[in-house]
Amino acid sequence: MSARKKDSEITWQDIDIGAVIRTPGNAAEYKTGDWRSDKPTWNKDRCIKCGICYLYCPEGCIRRDEKGFFEADFYYCKGCGICARECWTQAITMGPEEQ
């Protein structure tokens, strides 16, 4: 996702003064989606577009699409299952991550 050097290739000259990080939010390059064992699936027939899943996601990776339905960004989704638990209409089910 990013063009930066791998950690093991960073030289001491690459380190910014005081090891400050001047690129806000660049943790977004890290694929926490690799952690997942279970994956949420939205049933659009049951989804009432309330946004509670978006609200309760600890990663903040659930987004609204152009039709108003919600879905997870699977680059980040860790598969915690909070969205499925909290969904008022039980529109989200957790299933095994496909290989």
Binding site: D7, W12, I15, I17, G18, A19, V20, I21, P24
Partner: protein, 389 residues
């Protein structure tokens, strides 16, 4: 400008005022308390426009300085002895994050037993904290070096915190004649502070991230290399200060050392007593001189080696014990600096002036005489001068 009579502490406070410091984090401890009291008075009277934070401990004093400096404000604090120790872990953060904090330290002995009086044990405990450290030996230098400290710390090619050491009581509390400076003089020497990446919502940065093993060494090398390289800039700044004030400081300063076969080495106000001893010895025909370390960190390797290259014996005074270790921290570092030299003097170390114990010129003369003997014979015994029994 006329001379004024002033305690070293108050002179330091005057320097902070003339530097138009933005934030002062203050916690009292003998013998630096007069510094923070005078600053409080200045703020209360409108002589100094600064945020004065009366913190609840020295750990918080230095921590508040971290926040203030990171926000881009010119920051000052003062401490001594136990206070310097209490903020120990915070000192590493200041240098690691490259925050240009200036701190006055009224050097004081460490407990136990409790002693509020001066020696260098607090200084020697913070050698590796990554701060630039300078030693004043009189009231004038307490003032001058504090002004230099702001300029050095904030230089865009430096950006390291600076400690200005003044001997507890001997400099902090003794009234000496000295010259202050006019505001315009100070302004021509010290530009306004501009930190390159302050904490600001318009340009968000993250300070103080953690590093895994694969990155920590690179971060430390980056910092260490930078600290080492500041020595050149410090010398330039001393030269610039001389232009403005007429007073020239150097990393290593000499007194009657040109043709000396024996040199004394001291730091701080006891250098002035050593000078009296040098004069006495010279009067009786001996070729003795004195060198003083003005700059302690970054260690002035080149200047030290140059200063001692023609003498046979170097006698080092330490005002700090390193229990069960090599005799005297300063002596050890000096020996280490000279070890690689093909031509180097014999070195003898003495420990004296602990916990505010005065040393007389006669005792310095004793050190020279005994020092010549030890240096010729070698030996690892700690020789403490002026101890009964």
């Amino acid at each position: 400008m006329a001379m004024v009579g002033m305690e070293g502490s108050l002179a330091m406070a005057e320097a902070a005022r003339l530097a138009n410091v933005d934030v002062v984090a203050a916690y009292p401890i003998t013998p630096q308390t007069h510094i923070v009291e005078r600053l409080a008075e200045m703020v209360a009277n409108g002589e100094l426009n600064a945020s004065y934070i009366p913190v609840e401990s020295e750990h918080s004093a230095m921590s508040a300085c971290l926040g203030s400096s990171a926000a881009g404000a010119r920051t000052f604090t003062a401490t001594a002895g136990q206070g310097l120790e209490l903020m120990h872990e915070v000192l590493y953060v200041a240098s690691g994050l490259r925050l240009p904090i200036v701190m006055g330290v009224a050097n004081r002995a460490l407990s136990c037993p409790l002693s509020v009086w001066g020696d260098h044990s607090d200084v020697m405990a913070v050698r590796d904290t990554g701060w630039i450290q300078v030693f004043a030996e009189n009231g004038q230098q307490a003032f001058d070096l504090t002004l230099c400290a702001f300029r050095i710390a904030e230089d865009p090619k430096v950006l390291f915190p600076v400690m200005v050491h003044i001997d507890g009581f001997h400099l902090s509390h003794v009234v000496e004649p000295l010259y202050l400076m006019e505001q315009e003089q100070v302004n021509s020497f010290l530009p306004p502070f501009s930190y390159p990446f302050p904490l600001d919502p318009d340009t968000p940065v993250t300070m103080g991230a953690f590093t895994v093993p694969i990155l920590y060494s690179e971060a430390r090398k980056s910092m260490e290399t930078a600290l080492r390289s500041t020595r050149v800039i410090i010398n330039h700044i001393f030269a610039d200060f001389a232009r403005v004030s007429g007073r020239q400081y150097s990393a290593v300063e000499q007194y009657r050392s040109d043709d000396a076969d024996t040199l004394l080495l001291t730091m701080g106000s006891y250098s002035q007593i050593a000078m009296d001893a040098v004069d006495q010895l010279r009067d009786r025909g001996e070729k003795v001189g004195l060198i003083r370390l003005r700059l302690w960190r970054p260690f002035p390797f080149d200047e030290l080696r140059q200063a001692v290259e023609n003498c046979q014996t170097l006698v080092v005074l330490d005002r700090c014990v390193s229990p069960a270790g090599p005799p005297g921290p300063v002596c050890s570092e000096v020996k280490a600096a000279l070890y690689s030299q093909k031509k180097r003097p014999n070195v003898a170390g003495f420990i004296g002036g602990l916990g505010g114990r005065d040393l007389t010129p006669a005792e310095f003369v004793q050190m020279v005489e005994r020092g010549r003997v030890i240096a010729a014979e070698g030996g690892e015994e700690i020789e403490m001068i002026g101890v009964r029994g």
